[in-house]
């Protein structure tokens, strides 16, 4: 009797399984990520993970980045720029509402921009708003932004995740309950595990194709590998173990997407700390490093060598890798010239990602070959931010700068690698004031050449966007022009 029951139970279970298999295309997705956001306000923290969950999905700005990195209209339908380039008049889209039902209008834009540029603003990229002198509400659908001087990259600046439009009604709880205008609504955050977002039925534009998306945080590379293999996650963005990708590639269940990112991976050098205040020592460092060995050894070949702090896929990129070609003999003679014939010892502080931990071991071995001994310390991100980024207590560190077009950081002498050069700062000032595309292009090239000639940091490689996804998932961005995982166009193909 009991046997019969068991068999019948099994049969119905099989039917159930089969039923699921025959169902329509899935309408939900689980996206794996390595880092969890510290909170959910993209306008008050530098953490890239916040934008990677919320940008374009939940929050939108006046303009937005497209999958190719182009600046497209966002909440602003169109804009007019005054003759002298100092006044931008944005025409906002009609009928846009925040997820809490309130209307998005010019008052919200003024609130967002004023909040970001305020003296006590916690915005991580205040430089984006620095030139704004006034934000004026003309009518509910029109905003007039006045700049101090013409700024050729203003529309680009407004596309950043740090410049998204937020509402005064919901700002208080934004860190735990973000309310935006995007095609997805924030649903739930289980800290340490996942963030759920659901389709916004009242979206002003093309609605999201998925009903629900979950960002799942898996920090351990082995666990990430297992989760993808078991199909517990349907896509993993920023896959932490490049060595596993060939295996996914060979498996018909998965697709591997290798794209470009804005992540310049550099051997950051403390320009104020002896002996790195001597350009000959920094030049020696640059020549002691074999980039290809680092790309192969740390990233298993995924990455493009760079010779300056600029993305190779950018039209204004100048290939300056020859300027710091691998030449240990030259490095040794430069060190001798600077008075370090017997080498010296310095610190190498490494954050958690594989490019830093593995790359650090390789660099330590390459530097040892020219006489520079490094004391490696492996730090967690919080310690790294405290000791290196804020405390500036380091000799060398390895980090990937993933913000788009961030060469401007070299103009800030207070930035953690402490490069202080009046000529470079002048180039940046000129660049901000210039709006003629040809002249801007020339200035950007000049800036790249300047930091390469000064050997500010060791320029290693452009980080590749390593993603693995279920073969049936369609619509993920090919490249990563900004820190984002735009899921609005993603769907399952059956």
């Amino acid at each position: 009797m009991e046997h019969v029951n068991v068999t019948r139970g099994m049969a119905s279970m099989l039917a159930l399984v089969a039923g699921v298999g025959m169902a329509q295309a899935k309408t939900d997705i689980v996206v794996g990520m390595q880092l969890e956001p510290p909170h959910l306000d993209p306008t008050s923290a530098a953490a890239g993970a916040i934008d990677e969950v919320l940008y374009a999905n939940v929050f939108e700005g006046l303009t937005r980045f497209g999958p190719d990195g182009a600046v497209n209209p966002g909440l602003a339908e169109s804009w007019e720029i005054s003759e002298d380039g100092t006044v931008y008049t944005f025409k906002l889209r009609e009928g846009v509402t925040f997820h809490d039902g309130s209307t998005m209008d010019a008052e919200d834009v003024k609130f967002s921009l004023d909040r970001a540029r305020a003296a006590d603003s916690a915005n991580a990229q205040k430089a984006l708003f620095a030139g704004i002198t006034d934000v004026e509400v003309v009518d509910p659908q029109t905003v007039k932004v006045t700049l101090e001087a013409a700024n050729g990259s203003f529309l680009f600046n407004m596309a950043w995740g740090d410049a998204v439009i937020v509402a005064p009604e919901s700002i208080e709880n934004i860190k735990t309950n973000p309310v935006g205008t995007g095609a997805f609504k924030f649903d739930n955050w289980v800290q340490g595990d996942r963030i759920d977002i659901v389709k916004n039925p009242d979206y002003w534009g093309e609605p999201a194709k998925l009903d629900r998306a979950t960002f799942k945080f898996i920090s351990d590379p082995t666990a990430a590998f297992a989760a993808v293999m078991a199909e517990d996650v349907h896509a993993f963005v920023g896959f932490p173990a490049p060595e596993n990708l060939p295996q996914f590639d060979a498996d018909p269940r998965f697709q591997v997407l290798i794209g470009s990112t804005e992540g310049e991976t550099i051997l950051s050098t403390n320009n104020k700390q002896a002996p790195f205040d001597d350009v000959r020592v920094r030049k020696a460092l640059a020549h002691a490093i074999d980039r290809q060995a680092i790309i192969d050894g740390a990233m298993f070949g995924y990455g493009t060598p760079i010779g300056t702090h600029f993305a190779p896929h950018h039209p204004d990129y100048v290939d300056l890798t020859a300027n710091s070609a691998y030449d240990p003999e030259l490095a040794k003679s430069l060190l001798a010239e600077a008075g370090f014939a017997d080498g010296f010892t310095t610190t190498l502080k490494l954050p958690p990602p594989a490019y830093a931990r593995r790359g650090g071991e390789i660099i330590a071995s390459q530097l040892r070959a020219v006489g520079i001994e490094t004391e490696i310390s492996n730090l967690e991100w919080a310690q790294w931010l405290e000791q290196v980024f804020t405390g500036k207590d380091f000799g060398l560190t390895i980090v990937s700068h993933t913000e788009p077009m961030d060469i401007g950081i070299y103009g800030n002498p207070e930035y953690y690698f402490q490069y202080d050069d009046a000529d470079f700062q002048q180039i940046m000032t000129d660049l901000t004031a210039e709006s003629d595309p040809a002249a801007r292009s020339a200035l950007m090239k000049q800036a790249q050449e300047k930091i390469s000639a000064d050997y500010v940091n060791g320029y290693l490689f452009q980080l590749a966007a390593l993603r693995v996804a279920n073969a049936k998932v369609v619509g993920l961005w090919e490249n990563m022009p900004t820190q984002a995982n735009d899921l609005t166009a993603v769907y399952w193909q059956e």
Binding site: P221, N244, A293, D296, G297, S365
Partner: protein, 281 residues
């Protein structure tokens, strides 16, 4: 006498196998000071993750370093950490145990033994992780962390054995002869617990190697570029399906060393304890 002991010792298969295994790894560590097949600081990226071959008997790791050389130099780290940890444990634990035995039931005894209980009550690896997290990861801090947890082991063992010795007639005689507690402990008690200490020391040594591997595995032991078995395992973790030899060989090194030391400990106990020896016969 010594020839007889040697004969018994050689007749004890456990002891012989344990001794041989331990000697292989101690020998490898010693040889590595003079010679290794390839410099462990030498990276050769194009030759990475190669399976065992004539040039690299145990293959190469993800940086193209020779795994045999890494294991030999790694043995140095493991053995050094474990030896110093045992020395710390014995150096502090044995005097504490002897002192507690002298004044059985006194306040001193209570303080020492309850202190031991306190250390025992903490999960040792967790405390080791805390110590290295606070003072920074390094081989030295790993030694201290592991050493601290060896103290109560030796203190307890010494006290237990010493208590029964204190009731013996020859100790009585020594007391009647006017010898002080410190002198009796040193001259009569300590020599009689040495056998026990050697056996326990061997066991703690193997546990020390395991603890060092565990700490290195989580990144809190010896720091790169110093090779360490635990970190070799951690490094190979994501590559286990493409280059299994990277995990197998350091794993085997840990397994065989710990096995060897445990067998040796068992064998020594059999050798030292005549009652067990008689039962075996």
């Amino acid at each position: 006498m010594s020839a007889a002991v040697l004969r018994v010792a050689l007749g004890n298969r456990t002891l012989v196998i344990g001794l041989l295994l331990s000697l292989v790894f101690v020998g490898a560590a010693l040889v590595s000071f003079a010679w290794v097949p390839q410099d462990v600081g030498l990276m050769n990226i194009p030759e990475r993750m190669k399976p065992p071959s004539a040039a690299h008997p145990l293959g190469t790791d993800h940086f193209g370093r020779d795994i045999l050389s890494m294991i030999m130099v790694g043995a140095r780290t493991s053995i050094a950490v474990a030896v110093v940890a045992v020395v710390i444990g014995m150096g502090l634990g044995v005097p504490l145990g002897l002192a507690a035995a002298v004044r059985r039931g006194s306040l001193l005894d209570e303080v020492i033994m309850r202190g031991n209980d306190l250390v025992f009550a903490f999960p040792s690896l967790l405390i080791a992780i805390m110590i290295t997290a606070v003072f920074g990861p390094s081989a030295l801090n790993a030694i201290i962390a592991i050493g601290i947890f060896n103290i109560p082991v030796f203190a307890r063992l010494t006290r237990g054995a010493a208590l029964s010795l204190w009731t013996r007639d020859y100790v009585m005689a020594a007391r009647v002869a006017g010898k002080g507690a410190v002198r009796i402990s040193a001259e009569h008690i300590l020599p009689n617990v040495t056998n026990l200490l050697i056996v326990q020391g061997t066991i703690q040594f193997s546990l020390g190697i395991l603890a060092e591997a565990a700490l290195s595995y989580v990144g809190l032991g010896a720091q790169p570029p110093i090779p360490s078995w635990g970190r070799m395992l951690a490094d190979s973790q994501t590559m286990i399906s493409i280059a299994p030899h990277m995990a197998i060989f350091p794993g085997m090194a840990i397994l065989l060393t710990v096995l060897g030391l445990n067998l040796m400990g068992d064998g020594l106990r059999d050798l030292f304890d005549p009652r067990i020896r008689r039962d075996r016969r």
